[in-house]
């Protein structure tokens, strides 16, 4: 369904008539099947022309406009006893969020300028475009080297991340019924205090048009469900939680069904109760098996961030920080980051990856590339205005803005660790350990601003002694230096155990923007890592 002819005429004729997101974007394509037939909306293209023509007239050498609509839906349920009566209360939260608008980016006098508006009218697009040019011209007084963009092909295309059932079409009562079932399963375990669960759906309708001729419409759909059990002991004043957080994915409701949240309720309930009375860890050097739910964040922090080119060049020095993977000329193809077993890919084409797109926010077609090959650093994550700084001819497609009114910049794509090539199960990894710990899920994490020194916790810890998995431990954190840690990678489970883990809210930039991406991996064995006893 596209914009009605009548509505479009209203917008075109009356400059003040406001376009409605629902009219402009209509229904998303379902697996490439819709009336759009692979072409971007002509109405969106017509609105974009206003910005591109205006920017050119005002002297911009480059311009692009993004007209985007974002939708979020959160359905959540907290089940906890009333302290006075002991009656189990189910406290719901249901919220829809949407935003719609456009952002115009220009290069004038060799300097970037950006401005955004939320009223999608002809007049506003023209006004905001002029503002973007004014910002560029004002700042060009402090510009030393003009912005250079790596060449990109011209694309006229439409892209949708694959899905079977749109989670926004699943009735809220169906979602709440599922959450109540999940929480009841968790609460069925005696001594569990409370259960929380949530289902989140997020979509981006994106339209991109550039002065170089590209016209790209995309629909990106992200879905996930999560649950958590809490237990506490008033005598010892100890409280613990245990989560089941199946990977967030670019997919539909089918991903929530596959994740079998209710089927994991008893397990996490039993694990949180065991964790409550689990003995504290004896600190020291130990072998670790990190399950994908834990290792994903370690990949994110130590490799995902350190191989961002803007960090290496100092562009993020004032906030997120710089990187130990620098300077580029000394490290690309040379710096050993980890053991020979370590192969890490930057990838915006990964099926179901949270950062998977057809095209990035520079209009560059999605691609994949080696970040670490056999333990050696190969490529940074780049965007169009950076590629030339490391002697590369093309952008690797890592440009993203989290909103129509945010400035696109370099963000982490899906960054995943290849599974082991030899047949290897998690049990084989356990059998290879004399004194160690198996860690699952995410706990505390903290890493320095150059990504050397990190300290991570976890959600659940099991002791390994003499090649056997024993009972749970508590108060565990591991601390290492990124390169020491990856050098200690001794074995990886094979592809059968590879899981497409993902993150939903990585923060970077000033003003801060968020980003989602996947960090797939299989369970891995790291030798002799420093384990701490936390408070």
């Amino acid at each position: 369904m596209t914009l009605s002819r009548r509505r479009f005429l209203e917008i075109s004729a009356g400059a003040a008539a406001i376009a409605l997101a629902n009219d402009l974007f209509g229904l998303p394509e379902i697996n490439g099947q819709n009336t759009g037939a692979g072409k971007p909306s002509p109405e969106l293209s017509a609105l974009a022309e206003i910005a591109l023509a205006r920017a050119k007239k005002l002297g911009a050498s480059y311009a692009d406009i993004r007209i985007n609509r974002y939708r979020n839906q959160l359905v959540a349920l907290r089940s906890a006893p009333d302290l006075a009566t002991g009656k189990l209360n189910h406290v719901p939260a249901v919220q829809d969020m949407q935003s719609f608008g456009f952002g115009v980016r220009v290069i004038a006098n060799g300097t970037w300028g950006f401005a955004a508006g939320r009223l999608v009218t002809k007049d506003e697009i023209a006004r905001v475009t002029a503002e973007a040019v004014a910002v560029a011209k004002a700042n060009s007084a402090l510009q030393k080297s003009p912005v250079r963009l790596a060449p990109v092909k011209t694309y006229v295309d439409r892209y949708t991340t694959p899905f079977e059932r749109n989670p926004f079409d699943v009735p809220v009562p169906e979602k709440l019924a599922l959450l109540e079932k999940i929480n009841s399963e968790v609460k069925a375990v005696p001594k569990v205090f409370s259960a929380d669960s949530v289902i989140v759906a997020r979509s981006e309708d994106k339209f991109f048009a550039s002065s170089e001729g590209s016209r790209i419409q995309q629909f990106i759909l992200q879905t996930y469900g999560q649950m958590r059990a809490q237990a506490r002991d008033l005598e010892t004043r100890i409280s613990r939680s245990r989560s089941y957080s199946p990977a967030p994915v670019t997919a539909g409701w089918e991903a929530v069904v596959e994740a079998d949240l209710p089927g994991n309720g008893r397990r996490i309930g039993e694990e949180v109760v065991e964790h409550l009375s689990a003995p504290p860890v004896a600190p020291g050097k130990k072998d670790l098996i990190l399950m994908p739910g834990n290792l994903a964040l370690t990949i994110h922090e130590s490799i995902g961030h350190s191989t961002e080119l803007d960090r290496a060049l100092g562009y993020e020095a004032n906030f997120a920080g710089t990187s130990f993977v620098a300077p580029p000329e000394k490290v690309m193809g040379k710096l050993r980051i980890g053991s020979e077993l370590m192969n890490i890919v930057g990838d915006r084409t990964l099926p179901r990856g949270m950062s998977t797109v057809g095209y990035d926010d520079d209009g560059v077609k999605a691609t994949s590339f080696d970040i670490v090959r056999n333990g050696v650093f190969m490529h940074y994550q780049t965007i169009r205005d950076q590629a030339h700084l490391v002697g590369e001819k093309e952008s690797l497609g890592c440009c993203y803005a989290d909103s129509f009114d945010s400035i696109p910049f370099q963000r982490i794509p899906n960054v995943w660790l290849k599974a082991g090539e030899k047949p290897m199960t998690p049990d084989d990894l356990i059998a290879a350990i004399d004194d160690g710990i198996l860690i699952d899920g995410r706990g505390s994490w903290s890493i320095d601003h150059q990504r050397y020194n990190f300290q991570f916790g976890g959600d659940a810890f099991w002791e390994i002694k003499g090649g056997k998995k024993r009972g749970m431990l508590s108060r565990v954190a591991y601390q290492s230096r990124s390169t020491d840690f990856w050098a200690a990678l001794a074995a990886l489970a094979d592809q059968r155990f590879w899981v497409n883990e993902g993150l939903t809210s990585d923060g970077k930039g000033q003003p801060q923007q968020i980003n989602a991406m996947s960090h797939g991996c299989s369970p891995c064995l790291f030798r002799q890592i420093n384990v701490l006893l936390t408070d």
Partner: protein, 460 residues
């Protein structure tokens, strides 16, 4: 900017569309301008005007929330209808509390017209000071200058209406040596642009970069520290948040849970020097005239939920001053409207809102001069919970760590990771400076004994 009359008209229009038993609306409109620079030149810069309209419709005790930025009549009609549809889907909320009636909100002077009118051009002199100052000293600077003008308004079907305007500017600079062995940082936040001395901020960052070159490594361990206000502000953020929640304490989940049950209200847990308050009227950091949360980013909603609590109906009570800690003693905990009603006490503000920690009549230099052997900490980075219940945190030092010997700064030190609790810090305080605004809090510098540095961090 949305005027009071326009805000009232928008809210009334939405309330008139409502068919639900109750309807509450919150509007946030912001005008933003910012400039980033790095490598001694401007990188990205932008302007935007945004709006969030949040509508909560309640049928019985079922509430549906919607948030949108589309404000045409058609869009608002659709949004109200959708919030009512969501309310019908939602199960009854056992923790529902009726919306508030008309309130009299206090005036908080937080808006400055020249600041609201400023944009990139007004930021250039400050940025130029950082860039030219860095070039003179052969340093590389990166930084961020932002100004925000915003309107917050709320209303409901029971006749409540509130309107508030605010401006804010913040400027921060990092200067680094070309060999990558030194880094200095400074920042300032003011609600009036005219009060923000960007060249002075730039000079502090530049001086710290020069002083911090080629640091020496010290052994991890417990040291006396002088924490600059930015370090204090960063570390106190997680203490003055969920730990103060009365419900969490009573349910046995937080620092303020008494062993065996109950709370530690009234207990002396900190140094006698510590008084911490909520003060939205403090002219150094004026807050909002009501108690509660302003619209949060969509992205945080998942995490936000896990803090518990039911759907909002924007029932915000007038802002007040309140002490959390008074001369060492835990004086108040945070009672939500639901928990307050259940416990038959008055609801209280959130502990994260308008925090002021009182100081003593000393300068930062006085704290350094009084220190025989210790470390001066510019700021902290990547602070996270190690154990939310004990508020044991981990984090790192960054952008200027210096050894103090006999009251003088003697040499730069390689950064440390620390594992420490802000609760211990407030117990181990020996001396405080006069408080200043740092980030969203007004805090003093603190001289603290036995601060636990756990490992060396090579990062510069």
């Amino acid at each position: 900017m949305l005027t009071r009359d326009q805000a009232k008209a928008l809210i009334d229009k939405i309330l008139n569309l409502s068919k639900a038993d109750e309807c509450a609306v919150m509007v946030g409109a912001a005008d933003l301008a910012n400039t980033r620079f790095a490598d001694n030149q401007v990188t990205t810069s932008g302007r935007s005007e945004g709006m969030v309209v949040s509508i909560a419709s309640t049928i019985g005790t079922r509430t549906g929330n919607i948030r949108t930025n589309e404000t045409s009549d058609d869009a608002l009609r659709a949004a109200v209808a959708r919030s009512e549809e969501l309310a019908r889907y939602a199960p009854p909320d056992p923790e529902y509390v009726e919306p508030i009636s008309a309130q009299k909100y206090p005036e908080v002077a937080a808006y400055d017209a020249p600041t609201a009118g400023a944009a990139q051009k007004e930021m250039l002199p400050g940025i130029r000071a950082a860039i030219t100052g860095s070039e003179t000293k052969k340093l590389i600077s990166a930084g961020f200058f932002e100004r925000k003008a915003e309107v917050l308004a709320l209303g409901n079907k029971r006749g409540n209406f509130g309107y508030h305007t605010a401006t804010n500017t913040d400027y921060s600079v990092t200067a680094r040596t070309r060999d990558g062995t030194g880094s200095g940082w400074a920042s300032a936040e003011r609600f009036r642009l005219a009060d923000l001395d960007a060249p002075a901020v730039s000079r502090v960052a530049i001086d710290k970069a020069v002083l911090s070159q080629k640091p020496r490594a010290l052994e991890p361990g417990r040291y006396t520290v002088v924490l600059e206000p930015a370090a204090v502000s960063g570390m106190m953020q997680l203490l003055f948040s969920s730990p103060f929640d009365a419900r969490g304490a009573e349910e046995g989940r937080t620092l303020f849970t008494k062993k065996g049950g109950g709370t530690r209200l009234g207990e002396k847990m900190f140094s006698e020097k510590i008084t911490a308050r909520c003060d939205p009227f403090d002219p150094r950091n004026p807050g909002v005239p009501w108690v509660g949360e302003v619209p949060t980013e969509l992205s945080e909603i998942g995490q936000f939920f896990f803090g518990g609590g039911s759907a909002q109906n924007h029932s915000f009570l007038p802002a007040t001053r309140l002490a959390w800690i008074e001369k060492a003693t835990v004086k108040n905990l945070v009672y939500s409207r639901y928990w307050a009603k259940k416990k038959d006490v008055a609801p209280t503000p959130r502990s994260s809102q308008s925090l002021v920690i009182d100081g003593e009549d000393h300068s930062l230099d006085d704290l350094v001069r009084s220190t025989d052997r210790g470390l001066l900490v510019t700021r902290f980075w990547y602070i996270r919970y190690l154990n939310p219940q004990t508020v044991q945190l981990t984090g790192l030092t960054r952008d200027g760590l210096f050894w103090i010997e006999k009251g003088k700064i003697t040499y730069p030190v390689v950064n440390f990771r620390w594992n420490e609790s802000p609760s211990n810090v407030l117990a181990n305080v020996e001396m405080l400076s006069r408080p200043v605004r740092s980030g969203e809090r007004v805090v003093p510098a603190m001289k603290v004994r036995d601060f636990n540095f756990s490992s060396v961090s090579d990062a510069v």
